[in-house]
Amino acid sequence: MKIARVEHLHADAGQRNFDFLKLTTDDGLVGWSEYNESFGGLGVSAVIDGLAPLIVGKDPRAHEAIVTHLYAVRRQAAGGVVQQAIGAIENALLDVKARALGVPVYSMLGGPVRDRIRAYWSHCGTYRMSWWKDMQLPRVRTLDDVVAVGKEAREKGWTALKTNPMIFDVAEPYQHAPGFARRGAGFPELNADRQVLDNVRRQLAAFREGAGKDMDILVDLNFNFKTEGFLRMARALEPFDIFWVEIDTRDPKALHYVRSRTSIPVASCECLFGRRDYRPYFEQQSVDVAIIDTPWNGVAESVKIASLAEAYEVNVAPHNFYGHLATMMNIHFCAVVPNLRIMEIDPDVVPWYDELVTVKPVLEDGHLRLPTGPGWGTEVDEAAVKAHPPRKR
């Protein structure tokens, strides 16, 4: 079996695009992966195109040899967009190989160790505040709206939700995301000022009111502060019985410092690439939960990162804010790693979201079921992708 063709497809996802890689073999087998150009990933398709000649003609079953080769030819620009491209290729190779063997990917990786995966409603309220128009969602503008979303999460059977800091006491409420230079104050200083602290306290009180005492609430601070600000924010969140506070920082020692001074478990690392990036965070005891982006790293590499984390008695969780195919890829990852904490999923999506794949993930009572078909257990519906062409961004 040899790889004959490398193609990528793109679909409109409302506030962004979804990107898919398709590998076809000489005997007609197809392997898919989902990747993403929209958040820091612009250029991944071009990098994939550059690597394609090194893949065509290779046996996809030896995916470790292919990935080792791709890493070597881009060794001088490791990580970043290059790794996102290699991750996309690795994931499509895994799908081809598992399909050739007639087994789900998790079986090829030695699993499963579980048959259902607890999920949390991610960007809860966030998309409804920032992207309601692009994504055709009900709008969140007020704290009352937040109470209602919390209630909705409980009523729909979710056991956990994650939200992001929002500012309400202004004419046009907005998500506080200065770490990505989004609208509003705070960029480029990245400080936790009184207004932000006050707003986030009120936001979490509203979520707790709506979701009730049994809901686990996670808060994602992303890259929006620096060490001092992260610690102030984490301490402000302590009264709200938080499941984890998510903090992205490039300094493992600084993160260890924050973690050692708050009572809330710390999750981090979603923007790291490969075992070599994660290692200092483990050595510094920086995190309770290491978040791994499997579309970026590749599912096989992600399992290696998880096994490294396990040696440090650290849990892992997937970074999963993409389409159904990425959710399926992450389900396979979560099915195999013993040290899983919880899985992210975005329930707020564009109306045509389900059309883009042939099989959608099964969600029951806030938990995901493992697929049983070969490969990822789903494929991209090319006609539906064509019906929703990507927007120029």
Binding site: D59, A62, A65, V67, G110, P112, R114, S307, V336, P338
Partner: protein, 394 residues
């Protein structure tokens, strides 16, 4: 598919026994692993039997789930014999799964990076000194015999050899192995006395003379010294252009100290269990090559250790001084690990070794050819095993 039964089989290996685990599924499929009770492993069979109730009725495809359960069930006594038992089970389950899918084991781990593996002739001269009768192999009695042994290594196509410490000229020649209480002198002090250092230098001069300048020579000091002795001996070996010196120490910082003060690469870690056992050695920059015993750790866990080593830019090599099935089990993970250094093999073996297996490894020009048939690529020949019943091991 469910696991229906676990059986253990044992065969005479001359220098001890070879031990095999046979896992049979409800559809009649069989998975094999080789393990070893002879070197520190007495009791593994009993540990396997104790765990078997947790394996029977389980789907071998989900071997990670089974191994996670076994680890948890014995969490209070991890490592050691317990881990050797878990690994034997893991390895047999992997064989069963690969056979059910009709692929070689390396396909379950991402496919091969290479189709031949460079070998070194291990225990070169060792078995011929003390065990030539038991193993029915030619004896080594003198330094001249060692020169001849070096020539034989080259004549048989090997590009590397590894030796231990031999003492000639004090009565019957013997292997200096106080770390395992095998030689009365220097045990339990484990000091590097002048006469031992001198004997090792004579030995390496003889092997270099016989093997020539193009053969890589490795020296295994095992656990036979303490920190100062390891430094002293390794420095004394500088003129012999060694590929690696192998040193076992349970202190990662001590090993880092030794490595930073000797002129050649250092290999170690063959007696460690699991990623948690290896981690402090990687963090302390203790070794150039981490040796992994796949029969003890399990092939899946061994690849996790190798992947961890890779993040520290450290190479790995298999601990492989067992029978043919172990050699092939090691070949599968060595084919997959990008950071593979070189593979151990015992060329000197009892004349009936081949009879114990249905397929023997293919060796050409000192390299092992990767098998291409399902599972490990060989099975245990039960009639052959029955014809060579195990010895009683003290």
């Amino acid at each position: 598919m469910k696991v229906a039964r676990l059986d253990t089989l044992h065969a005479d290996a001359g220098k001890g026994n070879f031990d095999f685990l046979k896992v049979t599924a409800d559809d009649g499929r069989v998975g094999w692993s080789e393990y070893n009770e002879t070197f520190g492993g007495a009791g593994v069979t009993a540990a396997i039997e104790g765990l078997s109730a947790l394996v029977i009725g389980k789907d071998p495809h989900a071997y990670e789930s089974i191994v996670a359960t076994l680890y948890a069930a014995r969490r209070q006594a991890p490592g050691g014999i317990v881990q050797q038992a878990i690994a034997a089970i893991e390895n047999a389950l992997i064989d069963l799964k690969a056979k059910a899918l009709g692929v070689p084991v390396y396909e379950l781990f991402g496919g091969p990076q290479r189709d031949r593996l460079r070998l070194y002739w291990s225990h070169c001269g060792f078995f011929r000194i003390g065990l030539s009768q038991a193993m029915q192999i030619p004896p080594v009695r003198s330094l001249d015999d060692l020169v001849a042994q070096g020539k034989e290594v080259v004549a048989r196509g090997y590009t590397a050899l590894k030796t231990n410490i031999f003492v000639f000229g004090e009565g019957a020649p013997y292997v200096h192995m106080p770390g395992f209480a095998r030689s009365a002198r220097e045990f339990p002090a484990l000091n590097a006395e002048r006469r031992v250092v001198a004997a090792l230098r004579d030995q390496l001069a003889a092997l270099r003379e016989g093997a020539g300048r193009d053969t890589d020579i490795l020296v295994d000091l095992n656990f036979n010294f303490r920190t100062d002795g390891f430094v002293k001996v390794a420095r004394a070996l500088e003129p012999f252009d060694l590929f690696w010196v192998e040193i076992d120490s349970f202190d990662p910082q001590a090993l880092h100290y030794v490595r930073s003060r000797i002129p050649m690469p250092l290999a170690s870690c063959e007696s460690l269990y699991g990623r948690r056992g290896y981690r402090p050695f990687f963090e302390a920059q203790a070794a150039d090559v981490a040796i992994i015993d796949a029969p003890w750790n399990g092939v899946a866990e061994s690849l996790k250790i190798a992947a961890m080593a890779d993040t520290y830019e450290v190479n790995v090599a298999p601990h492989n001084f067992y029978g043919h099935l172990c050699t092939l089990m090691n070949a599968h993970w060595c084919a997959v690990a990008p950071n593979f250094r070189i593979m151990e093999i015992d060329v000197d073996a009892v004349p009936w070794l081949d009879e114990l297996y249905t397929v023997k490894p293919t060796i050409e020009d000192g390299h092992l050819r990767l098998p291409t048939t399902p599972g490990w690529g060989t099975e245990v020949d039960e009639a052959g095993v029955k014809a060579h019943p195990p010895r009683r091991i003290g």
